[in-house]
Point group: D3
Chain length 222, copies 6
């Protein structure tokens, strides 16, 4: 259908894409836009560096071009919002990034948002993006879970660290809402929120939610 | 249904509420939340001053309290977002303001947003709100249509001035997206956008669109 | 006398109003404006929520209207500056808030101001106000004394916690001037300042001090 | 008397000092602080450059040292607030600058303040100061009267240009309060305000008004 | 030599690269680093869109990798600083962008910098970058020369428009220093500066100048 | 030679000047500008207060005037950049400050810069300067080494504390580049950088490096 929301995971890890797909389930409504999640075959297994971010723009542009005729909106599902501005130039349909949408959504929930990053090395990249977004004054802080790559495969440990990191954002940095700075971990949102006692925003869900309105309203048809 | 989105027009002018209701039509989906628009009987005919803004908070709080059991989210449909923070304290459901939601939505569309105000006297009030929102750096400017109250009843003249004001925001202030700083004028969105050649955001639609996602995701259930 | 400064305590607790009255004593001069302190009978015992803030605006407006003929200026004596912008619209005389005046005064004393809040839940509300005021870059931080309502009646304990909180603002947040984020506690200002070794600003005194100049200069007579 | 407010004109032009003295008249109250205005003999005829600003710090420091025993506060009466931070280091009494006090006062009156500068070349200097003060987001703009030195002696022409400049700040830059960016012109305040229809702040009066409270409260006695 | 500064023009237009090379001449010193200018063969004829910016990152990364052994620093010579953060991740040598270096240099020359853009469509992209750089408060404004692609080949007309645009930045936006927002036009710098009467910064020269120090100091050798 | 860079140490301590001179050695190139370092005889032994900063402006102005004929640029080598704006008014040659140049250089190296101050009392002064510079959003924090004057003569202890302070800036404040907030300690840069594992910018070197380009390009010849 021409109003399908295409959620593109810019990495090639299919399990992440499946997790995103499951996370979109509550947003699928009879009479509403279809929501389709795809992996970027050309992408790396995970977006971990600025070079990863920059190098997926060309293949993302190809998908967006190919799917414009049958899609009503595109969601780029990586917390670095790779290629978001390039894709907006190219597309005749709305393109949303999960970082921007989750942060903007958090602004309607709390006064200061904290971000839980997976990798320490992503924080400077996110800081540049948040500054460009113009909302730095609302940022409480961003902290990494601080696990090595081998430890990150341990889901229990990862979750445990997300809780610890969220508590630090809440208690030491004054965050009253937390954004999960990663895609594909929506299943942790609810327990994390319960553990922290403050709202938690899952970015893919936040972006797809905003895309639904954009598709229905057809504002992009200039 | 418990997931109804209640759109509250904080003024008592029923024609405005009807216009809002019509504007929500594209956002009604078979399997999606019901969208109900009501006027605030105790409200003034229009919200024109800070005192109007402050004085509707108590009756708004009453409605929100009364309708919590059967509503999934509340949208306060006045560009001054009256009582938004009070209502968030009181409600166990999400409360969204049309000013914040339209501005945040505009941030995903252009680099600098302009706001078309109806009254000159609202601009300082909006400026305080935009500053508190923390997005002042993205504001291109806000300009009034500059019509007296008697002239505002002339729809043709009002629209004409909205176009002129929008062009000034675009050409002199660098706006590449325009937010309509008023409720109940959604029917002007499309022609205004065509006349300006840059995207135009209608605030009630922007807020209801965001509310749909919030209702579906149930994030407020802490 | 027409140049009386009317200090309105927006809560109904008479002992707080009496404490304010005593705090104004050094500002009473033979040839200067009279300073009168009144409680808001319709107010809650304390302003603790955003809804409290919003709900006192209407009764405040009534007092300001009634007393315009014989007052030269109004001071709203609650650290949330309730209704300040509504009252400025209505009054033909200057209206000052104790939060804004104490913060602006602190800017002439130190480089970074810290705020001691009574309640944790007030901090987000104050943060919005400080952002709207446009002086967020000078804020070192705001911290609550962190006592429950029952403990706050213990004056000794409250003072002790104010000292601890002030030291934390000074040592961990870099504050070199502290603003007391509450009204009616002027008697703690001097010992608190001595304990912290950095200047402490008491907000009601700061606002009344500014009001004296405004009354004498008659700048409001546009 | 030990609570005299010493207003120091950092230039040597006695007529300016006399004008300041007259401007302080409404702030002299029976039972209030004495207000004494002096010229800086070592100062240039006018403070027109950054070098002028820097070069008066040493003689200002000497006066402040000499008069600490019998003064309760010092006001530095030049819109560049020369030496303000040096003098605060040296003095055991409050030191206020007329630029900071007038700008902070304007923040309690309007949403966006405009500044009328005498010389174009002062604007960058003031911009650095306003940035350091941390209130740049509230600045509507600063514009010079744009007269050559020989024309500035023509009082009628100077006033006329102040009106024109003020109107430009109001209409093109959105100022709703204007600060006179110069000392010794208090006699223009009232007609200028009438001509502009928005409040006008005179800086020496604003600073002396704030000094009165500081003297009375004795907050500097750490 | 291992301390060569490699200036990479990310477009494939050799005449632009030659112009850059000539612009570097004053920075070549007998005992200083060699300065070599190369075109990106894979690049488009000109960098005109965000997609152009993103699409040159991969080939830029390849050049930087290949030339690390014999280069002491890299300058990316396009005013959008394409790939700057990716390249910094990859390189063991300093990587400088001409936009950042020219803007930072301008901050040491004037209070408010204006930018002359070639294309209107680049301004939003530059705005995001300036915001990320954290120096938006020093920006007077950015304006395009406003010529179509066919007119831009007319050097005389282009220069004429740069002068007009610079004057507008100076007179209407308050710029006291102007940055040329394009590469390969260093020959216009001197006459442009003379025509405007305020300093003009040429970005490739600014960046290469900073690179010399970085090479000589060897700070990158962590 | 007319293109000599004159580095002026605004204090009178010759050993500091000698240390600066040694630090400039890598920046001396055959065919490049001569670099000469001088002490300010009239300066205090160290610049420790705002009054020290202000009081050296007049003698600095004298040196700059006297040496304009044979110098191509001036570097003011104190981390408070004393007199920088006065000297720019007076000089027909570029004048650079080591604080601004090191901070701007740090912006090209990391996302958040930390500053190691020698004295606690300098931090508010530096904060004002960084705010005026317009780059406060990039500041991670500034911390003092926290040694008394007598302890500062112990080089080993001072270095040890610089390492501790740098680690605190890195770990608790998120700095990914550190600026040495003092002059004459360039010999610590390399070991400090090794100890911290993040880049360290030495301010005199940063400023002299930028001065070389300025001299070679002759941009100041308006």
């Amino acid at each position: 259908m021409a109003d399908t929301i295409l959620v593109i995971n810019p990495n090639s890890t299919e399990t992440v894409t499946r997790a995103m797909d499951a996370a979109c389930e509550p947003l699928r409504m009879a009479g509403g836009p279809a929501i389709e999640c795809v992996s970027l075959q050309e992408g790396p297994p995970g977006i971990e560096t600025q070079f990863h971010v920059d190098s997926v723009v060309t293949p993302l542009a190809r998908i967006v071009s190919e799917r414009q005729h049958d899609c009503g909106a595109f969601v780029i599902a990586c917390f670095s919002d790779p290629g978001i501005h390039s894709l907006r130039e190219l597309a005749r349909k709305p393109v949303l990034g999960i970082a921007e949408c989750s942060i903007l959504t958090a602004l309607t929930i709390g006064e200061k948002f904290g971000v839980i990053a997976i990798l320490q090395q992503s924080i400077a990249r996110h800081a540049r993006y948040i500054a460009a977004l113009g909302v730095r004054d609302r940022l409480a802080g961003e902290l990494p879970v601080g696990l090595g790559v081998t430890e990150l495969v341990d889901a229990g440990k990862t979750y445990e660290r997300m809780v610890e990191t969220g508590k630090k954002l809440r208690d030491d940095h004054g965050a009253d809402v937390v954004v999960m700075g990663c895609a594909g971990m929506a299943h942790y949102r609810k327990p994390l929120q319960a553990a922290l006692g403050i709202p938690v925003v899952e970015p893919t869900q936040a972006a797809v939610a905003m895309a639904i309105g954009r598709v229905r309203l057809g504002w992009h048809l200039l």
